[in-house]
């Protein structure tokens, strides 16, 4: 079977130069490159080591007025891309797409609910000045996975909720995000809910919200797969 039109840039990627690679937690990296176009917080980019290999998709994890685009990822040992990506150093080239995607916040009050590196789009929104009427709930397994917690705690105060399922600390809810939400007697039903993380969290939280009277139209989800 033939394509009717040949596309050399199969996945429409462009080469960029890495400007930073920081391991912000064991096995979790924040890489950056110079921003050459605008984007909306919540959008994603495709990344590849080689333009002819299918790229992977990552949420942008930086503010829309910053000079760099940043991406947060954890290294999957059996992954095709992240072990390589973890080793990139400034000056190296990677292939990226233009930012795209419709996981965008509005000015309406909302709860941002994330697990693990699913915090990336919300951190982008936060860094873009969109956190004023938002509550951020972040669920992780270990305490060192609360990426950007100092900055978020300082800026958002009580509106920044940390849930940790395997370790305990003061000011951290002991358990998963779902459990935290289950214990809230009345969840607001007239706000938006943004969910980002693995499918099982998204599905369980979405079901919980719907069972508590939140219209499904108010729930927007992004799944990491």
């Amino acid at each position: 079977m033939q394509k009717s039109a040949n596309k050399n840039q199969q996945f429409e990627l462009e080469e960029v130069t890495i400007s930073g690679n920081e391991e912000i937690s064991p096995g979790v990296h924040l890489i950056s490159w110079l921003r050459t176009c605008n984007f909306s917080p919540g959008q994603v980019v495709k990344i590849a080591a080689d333009p002819m290999i299918a790229p992977r998709i990552y949420s942008i994890c930086s503010g829309n007025d910053e000079s760099e685009i940043k991406v947060l990822f954890n290294v999957k040992e059996d992954g095709l891309l992240t072990p390589w990506l973890a080793g990139v150093i400034p000056g190296m080239k990677i292939w990226v797409s233009k930012p795209y995607g419709s996981f965008k916040d509005s000015k309406k009050p909302a709860w941002w609910i994330a697990t693990g590196t699913g915090i990336a789009p919300f951190y982008s929104m936060f860094r873009s000045g969109m956190s004023e009427n938002k509550t951020l709930i972040h669920g992780v397994r270990k305490l060192d996975q609360f990426y950007f917690e100092d900055e978020l705690e300082w800026a958002m105060g009580d509106r920044y909720v940390r849930c940790c399922s395997q370790e305990q600390s003061c000011n951290v809810f002991p358990g998963r995000v779902n459990k935290y939400l289950e214990e809230i007697k009345e969840l607001p039903t007239d706000i938006n809910y943004y969910l980002c993380g693995k499918a099982i969290m998204v599905v369980e939280v979405r079901d919980l919200l719907i069972s508590r009277g939140v219209p499904y139209e108010n729930i927007l989800a992004e799944i990491y797969f």
């Binding site: 079977m1 394509k3 009717s4 994603v44 299918a54 998709i57 419709s102 998204v202 599905v203 499904y216």
Partner: protein, 339 residues
């Protein structure tokens, strides 16, 4: 635990034969036994020498997995439950219709995609199926010699398990395998573009895309994958392929009451599908526990179909089958998991 022969390609079987010191042609002989004959043990491969069978038995097992439960609907549809990793189950439906027998296979245990209307998604993702476990769903049901069509529309997203799905297609369509025509096979995706491109390049089977609404904002609320692979990108990619006369692309469209069944939707479907020779399969929605969605009424469904046909888009309504046996994917295996 011994490795399975079942699920290996001719190249793999030949390589393992050579590695075991057996003649190269043993690979072809094994393939024929595995995929074309009614046997279930290495000992029954009677054109292999006794010694060859002993060598194979010492390292490998035949590898068929039997279903643990079968339910039969009043309309003849059967649902088979096959065990897989960690006490989980996958579902396979066999749907008879006059001369046709269509088998609907699963490609994953559970699913990562989290579509709002899907029961499988509620199980979360449990694991990938191997090519052997996919082909087993056809080869190891009593009707396997009479199967006319195969659809990858059971549990899981096929293009999230691309390598094994492509391997299963090779086994199903090769002369040494089940020797089915790829034109009798349809692989359904929610639109994982890189996987779809590879599939279009490497297979000749038909493609079905789960669309469910032509509008981005609505689709995003039904299908989180819309964020990563917007429908517009899926359509753009499909438009760049020449499907020829034999190969078919179709769009699956579950019709929800008051959500995606309006004239506005008809208009938008015509707009975005303009230039693609395709068909739309309208599907009645059978509610799953806790869903906020409702299926549209019969009258609206028929009108929706007529309007699309009037506009020149070949549109059909898929018959609902096996409703009395939880034939919608995910319902039976979820029920089995929770006891």
């Amino acid at each position: 635990m011994k490795d399975s022969l079942f699920g290996k390609t001719l190249v793999e079987l030949t390589a393992l034969a050579v590695e075991l010191g057996l003649p190269r042609f043993t690979g072809k002989q094994m393939a024929e036994w595995l995929y074309q004959k009614d046997i279930s043990s290495i000992d029954e491969m009677t054109n292999l020498s006794k010694k060859a069978r002993e060598i194979l038995n010492s390292k490998y097992e035949f590898g068929l997995v039997n279903s643990t439960k079968v339910q039969e609907s009043v309309d003849g549809t059967k649902k088979y439950l096959f065990p897989t990793v960690q006490g989980k189950f996958i579902e396979t439906a066999m749907i008879p219709d006059d001369d046709r027998k269509t088998v609907c296979v699963s490609s994953q245990v559970g699913c990562k995609m989290g579509c709002l209307f899907c029961m499988t998604g509620k199980q979360g993702f449990q694991g990938q199926l191997t090519a052997g476990e996919i082909v087993n769903q056809i080869r190891n049901i009593p009707e396997w010699h009479k199967v006319t069509n195969i659809v990858y529309m059971g549990m899981g997203e096929p293009f999230d398990n691309l390598e094994e799905v492509l391997k299963s297609l090779e086994i199903l369509t090769s002369e040494w395998g089940l020797a089915m025509s790829p034109r009798r096979i349809t692989v359904s995706t929610i639109g994982i573009v890189p996987g779809m491109v590879t599939f279009l390049n490497q297979s000749e089977a038909h493609l079905a895309v789960s669309m469910h609404t032509p509008f981005d904002d609505e689709r995003q609320k039904l299908m989180p994958v819309q964020v990563a692979y917007p429908l517009a990108e899926v359509i753009r990619e499909i438009k760049s392929w020449d499907f020829g006369r034999q190969r078919r692309v179709s769009f699956e469209y579950i019709v929800f009451k008051g959500l995606n069944d309006s004239p506005r939707h008809v208009q938008e479907l015509c707009k975005i599908l303009n230039g693609i020779k395709c068909r739309i399969n309208l599907i009645r929605f059978h509610p799953i526990p806790g869903t906020p969605l409702e299926g549209t009424d019969e009258n609206t469904l028929q009108k929706f179909k007529e309007k699309l046909n009037e506009k020149g888009i070949l549109t059909t309504i898929r018959a609902s089958r096996g409703q009395d046996i939880y034939a919608a994917c995910g319902l039976l295996s979820t029920k089995e998991m929770v006891g």
